[in-house]
Subunit: 198 residues, 2 copies
């Protein structure tokens, strides 16, 4: 049996989303067909609206409805501390901890030569300008512990150190609540290498 | 940090989809924000179009762009055999085997008192009418081996048997390629109970 063309097209679009395979895409599309027409229209409208009204903070490049964003314009935050993240979702994850009180800088990606993403494709220049212009004392690199994350961290720390500021990166190691026994070898090696004196 | 309202709304809509939790919904919504505007509009359009152009076969209730559907109007298929499935996706799964040559009947759900779904909410009456009117010799029940699936199978078989036709259900047992050792107990019990003489 062939899908009808509109259904096949919808499945295709769902499949383009991250972590959605062909089976899930089919299930989601069939779910849309079973959903009330008005609900489907609202969903489609929400998608267009989110995309068309999306704004980015001109300072830190976080998603925001105002410019500068709430974080950059907050008076209660430490302006001397800037946490560099790859994507807005990483910023959201850190904000959820309610612990960090500094500012952010969203790169909008990581350096990845294999995907053709160089330093000029992410907000590196803008970060250097902030460090140059503003009174920043420390830059915390909070990038994923992947090949691209590590390469980007290394690249940024080399560029940032000449400014005479502190450059740090978040700790990689055994996650809290997990067990040594089940920790993968690379994480264990990292945790041993970056051990702290007590 | 709060999401902007349009983004929060889009996350909500993604979260209503089956098997999409809050984290995935956030990732999908953020992906939409990073996607080209025209691509997002096409996706939204595809959703509305699939929903508005969707048609169901008036005989078997399969998704179809023509009525009756290709399967019901096919001259090469055995009209005496009707396979009853819960949803169009189950029909698609069976069609992909390229083995079954009979017709289908898509119930549009399973009887589930806990969700308030009774026999009148799915296409039971229409199945009985087909059996009454058409020259059907066998009805194969191909419903999921869940509580609802089994209850619906039992209910249907009681209603169908008085018509003097054969009523069968697909076999539940050890899936091919799997190992006995890793098969769950309920499946093993079922496989033993429904053993076949060799």
């Amino acid at each position: 049996m062939e899908y009808t063309r509109p259904l096949a097209r919808l499945i295709e679009y769902f499949q383009k989303l991250p972590s959605i395979g062909p089976k899930t895409a089919q299930r989601l599309a069939l779910h849309i067909l079973k959903t009330d027409k008005s609900e489907v229209e609202n969903f489609a409208q929400a998608m267009i609206e989110a995309k068309s009204t999306i704004k980015y903070c001109s300072i830190c490049f976080n998603i925001s409805s105002v410019d500068p964003c709430e974080i950059c314009s907050s008076t209660s935050r430490t302006k001397e501390l800037v946490c560099v993240v790859a994507e807005a979702k990483d910023l959201i994850a850190i904000e959820k901890t309610n612990e960090y009180q500094g500012l952010y800088h969203v790169l909008g990606g990581l350096i990845s030569p294999i995907d053709g993403i160089g330093p000029e494709d992410i907000k590196v220049k803008e970060l250097l300008e902030r460090v140059h212009k503003d009174d920043i004392k420390e830059v915390i690199l909070a990038l994923n512990p992947s090949v691209e994350g590590e390469a980007t961290s290394l690249y940024l720390s080399k560029l940032l150190k000449p400014f005479g500021i502190k450059v740090s990166r978040i700790a990689y190691g055994i996650p809290l609540g997990s067990e040594l026994e089940y920790t993968d070898e690379l994480t264990l090696i990292r945790a041993l290498e970056t051990r702290l004196e007590m």
